[in-house]
Symmetry: C2
Subunit: 372 residues, 2 copies
């Protein structure tokens, strides 16, 4: 009831020293199994809970963490980075020093970036594995040298990553299915585009989309998925063919960021006005289309929050030595013409926040939160 119980209290109760108590609680070598047991017992009984502030203060380590992401062709990765920054600052001095390493496009230079991170003695790595297969061995190598790796946005299966932070793909796909079904009045033919069928995230979205349609809108039909391999011309060509082959297509769900080629193809096929398009993420070109009503809705994957949580998981591991969640899955947000401005404001304030926080000495600014 009275005060908080500390290491000293435990030590006192057992007639031993805080050093021993600490070693016992942390499985450090050099402590008699008997005393360890007693320490664990007593600390549990007394309801000991460590003081994080003291812990952080005493382990004066300045973490160096590397953030390996795609260069900001779209705003997505800029926002991920700003989320990481923001969460890092929030911890004050202990907000590790962060090194950003970007690679120009998918699959190019990411291994080199990873190598640089390892060479640079990073204590942890936040990573977008654009080619998961290629990075597997690198991640394993890192984990052998005790360097934890957190994947953002996309998983790297079978590697020894510490955790994955991403949007919940099932919830995304299912939401798209729900909406498509309702928007189209439970009937019609719909299509889906994705990057490649061997990327877990995309097959999961597909599966959830398909299942939702089958379950709640059984009269609708889903065409075979279109793979664009993240190549814009490929997306355009395949969609043109799709539209030619199915002039009665009612809707299309674009799971990748590359929605512009799809829109262009629809426009060129004179289909844009009667096609219901559900896109993914939010970037300037898409914003116009939403405002113009050409794209009905987009599923926003909250890059800023992904960044924040990725940092938080990594930080927690580096400090506590444990990882509370292997998989952090976010609920996506739905953006439509009416609430579009809300998200644009959030994005903008996120950017200014990042700048303000970087410039400020003590964080005196009264900018607003950016919890998207």
């Amino acid at each position: 009831m009275s005060r908080r119980v500390t290491l000293f209290d435990i030590a006192d109760a057992l007639g031993i020293s805080t050093g021993t108590v600490h070693r016992a609680l942390h499985d450090h070598p050099g402590v008699n199994p008997m005393t360890r047991m007693r320490v664990l017992q007593v600390s549990k009984n007394m309801g000991y809970r460590p003081n994080m502030a003291a812990r952080l203060l005493s382990q004066k380590k300045q973490f160096r963490i590397s953030v390996n992401t795609l260069k900001g062709t779209t705003s997505f990765w800029d926002e991920v980075r700003s989320g990481i920054q923001e969460e890092a600052q929030a911890l004050g001095t202990h907000g590790a020093e962060i090194e950003f390493r970007t690679f120009p496009c998918l699959g190019e230079g990411e291994e080199e970036a990873f190598e640089a991170a390892l060479a640079g003695e990073s204590d942890g790595i936040i990573l977008f594995p654009s080619r998961p297969r290629n990075l597997r061995i690198w991640i394993r190598r890192a984990s052998r040298s005790k360097v934890p790796v957190v994947c953002v946005s996309t998983d790297a299966p079978e590697s020894n990553r510490l955790a994955v932070v991403s949007v919940d793909t099932m919830a995304s796909g299912a939401l798209a299915g729900d909406l498509m079904g309702r928007f189209l009045n439970h009937r019609g033919k719909v299509a889906i585009t994705l990057s490649a069928l061997d990327i877990t995230e995309h097959t999961e979205k597909l599966a959830a989309f398909e299942k939702t349609l089958k379950t709640f809108h059984p009269e609708m039909s889903l065409l075979d998925p279109i793979e664009d391999h993240d190549v814009e011309p490929e997306a355009y060509d395949k969609c043109r063919k799709l539209f030619a082959a199915h002039p009665d297509l009612a809707g299309i769900y674009v799971t990748t960021e590359a929605s512009m080629p799809v829109i262009q193809a629809a426009k060129d096929a004179q289909l844009l006005d009667r096609l219901t398009i559900i896109a993914t993420d939010l970037f300037p070109a898409l914003i116009e289309q939403i405002r113009a009503g050409k794209v009905t809705a987009t599923i926003y994957q909250r890059p800023h929050t992904q960044g924040r949580l990725a940092f938080r998981v990594l930080q927690e591991f580096l400090v506590h030595g444990k990882c509370s969640a292997f998989r952090v899955a976010l609920a996506p947000h739905l953006v439509m013409p009416g609430n579009l401005d809300f998200f644009l404001e959030k994005q903008a304030s996120g950017r200014t926040n990042a700048r303000a926080a970087a410039a400020a000495s003590d964080g005196p600014s009264n900018f607003s939160y950016n919890y998207d």
Copy 2:
């Protein structure tokens, strides 16, 4: 470049003591204006940023904060409380001691609860102002005694509250409008129910809903809003009358938690199957209706996150003495049959997390995150 700059570094550079530097940086009395200027100047130049860990550790205050909310008739407030708990634990020892004071129903006992909080020497209060007008003077009184008050879910205008955490009402109303328009193919007659027109949140939702309909679906018509004053029979009766007067009603947006009376009224009026209902929040009875397809969608106000952020804002103020955001607005989540399970899982894991964290001594469990 090298190491972090500390109070000592600044003091050393100026040939003064850390005590003076600290007083200067914090506007404490007893420091020469001249030296204060120089300290501020140098600390800015050297890029000083305080070490939160040290600060937390040294100001050995154990905050006592009171959480005044509605008794858990619905799960909403349970989740708010669990969010507060969770964020409090995350800070380790410094996770203030939290006293929950609940009042049985809207407007009953909340002033007494507030009084008790003040009498109990709380350092801060997190509050659901169910009757904002009545609480105004109490909040003012608290602020006079330097006790910060954070409102969750609903604002108490014209009071001296420190901050407000809630879902973004504009985004909610606009989303409902967008969806209603699309679900109903841009035409038809729709209605809206709310608690009372003098509650800011509800009029904002109404305004956003109306504006979105007008802007993007001008052919639709919106009936006058129905006020239920949070009284279930009143909601039922008024809806029965509404349905009788408008048998061709196409959709209804329920902004309050009291969606069950509306559903019941629709059922009794034989309207349930051709009415598009968009509800608010998520609770067992509603879940059934969503699964059964009677309710098309619900706008989830993320109570857990509201709780988390409310605590975070308050904590920040108590520690730093400043409040980074007066208004924290969350984007709502859209729940539909397909992604319903995702949210139910999150809710469940939130509950077990709260219990696990409370029981654990050091948080050894590897439960999963609950970022909704």
